[in-house]
Symmetry: C2
Subunit: 247 residues, 2 copies
């Protein structure tokens, strides 16, 4: 099962805001056996959102979007998604009730009410942090950009997602350079076509090294490949560290 994340926001493309949703979502999706296969960062531009969502929802089992569902003029995601699906953007009664409960009648102005405008046929995504809901239409899940809100939204619907086999991974590192191990590592990769072996340069304590990551859905094959990778490093240095965390 493959997913795509669409990060919507001029502030990410300008370098103002560092996205933190991709890494978080990637790990959460992997836990339920869905692989993040692509991500796109796009501007607050209706036509670009329409085109990107239109292309990605056909290519991937799941599409997640972050950003652009707030009350201000630059929050255009909901409208663009409605257009991408060729449906109306309409006042959603359930969403309006949620906003009324949260803001009270006095504070629920027209701008905030805009957050109850949802594409026809979409189902709401609960927002336990700040009330204003996201929504899901077909295989597209529309979430807020603020990480704490995005995470709460994802938690509310993740049990509904259908995953496949979880990608398992193990990592090991040493102060040897990639060029010194590349040929033998390639031979291991050839032996284990069902294990994805990644090689990443690292700098730790001002020393240059390499972190090798093995990824597979099969525990036995993963462990076998990992053992060979670790032995390769051990043949060059005694200073080999199993990484606590791999992804």
């Amino acid at each position: 099962m493959r997913a795509c994340l669409i990060i919507i926001g001029n502030e990410v493309l300008s370098g103002r805001t560092q996205d933190k949703n991709l890494a978080w979502l990637a790990k959460e999706l992997n836990e339920i056996g869905i692989r993040l296969a692509e991500a796109r960062v796009i501007p607050d531009n209706t036509q670009v959102i329409i085109d990107t969502v239109g292309a990605c929802r056909k290519k991937f089992a799941y599409v997640f979007t972050t950003g652009g569902i707030g009350p201000t003029h630059d929050d255009i995601t909901s409208d663009a998604i409605a257009r991408a699906f060729g449906v109306k953007l309409e006042r959603n009664q359930e969403a309006e009730t949620i906003l009324q409960r949260h803001y009270g009648k006095e504070k629920l102005n027209a701008a905030r009410l805009k957050m109850a405008d949802i594409p026809a046929g979409a189902s709401l995504i609960r927002n336990a942090v700040s009330a204003a809901p996201g929504f899901c239409i077909e295989n597209v899940y529309v979430m807020a950009g603020v990480p704490a809100i995005m995470q709460a939204m994802f938690e509310s619907f993740k049990h509904e997602l259908k995953g496949g086999a979880k990608m398992l991974s193990r990592a090991v590192s040493a102060y040897v350079t990639e060029g010194a191990i590349a040929e033998r590592l390639s031979a291991i990769q050839d032996q284990y076509p069902d294990v994805e072996i990644g090689s990443y340069p690292l700098i730790r304590q001002q020393r240059l090294g390499t972190c090798l990551v093995a990824r597979s859905t099969d525990t036995a094959r993963l462990n076998a490949a990992y053992r060979e990778i670790k032995d390769l490093l051990l043949s060059l240095t005694q200073e080999v560290a199993e990484e606590d965390w791999a992804a």
Copy 2:
């Protein structure tokens, strides 16, 4: 002038590595009047690289890629870019000489020599950090993924890029929520269609607020819009902070 960044790497999509190149490149490009208009994060997959580069190089004035040009088996970017352009990947004499000087004959093994295989017709991008060059073919600039190396590569060719007007920006923030200002902010946006006004929720010292960013290539219009935005905030609270940095 619009650019696209293609971030190539399974380690970014798995959540293992947090990309830091997008934000850095966005700011550098803006300094020379080029706007980062889209970014894509894609896996180490030849066909996906071919398709993505093929689509993006037609849509954007400049395409930058990061990742996948090292010596290991998972470094497939150079080969994929050659295929995307329908040219041969061939041993580049200039690149080989650079690697010979850097590694010396003894350490320059076959894996490291692979880094001298460059698409035919491409020009090299100098790497002042670790020697192995990137390359440029037509409007596509292929760089390393390690931020320090990517930055050194970019510095080496940025004077060749042709930019337009630089996007100027100013930012101001206050402890008012987006919903409280959205309607009046929208009216300001309508008055200044040539100024892009972004509204971003912020949490500082555990207080909820909003940061408003005005972006324009015209200083006078930027300042006029900024003044109105600031006045809007000042009409609601005395605690309004001009941000030192905007993007």
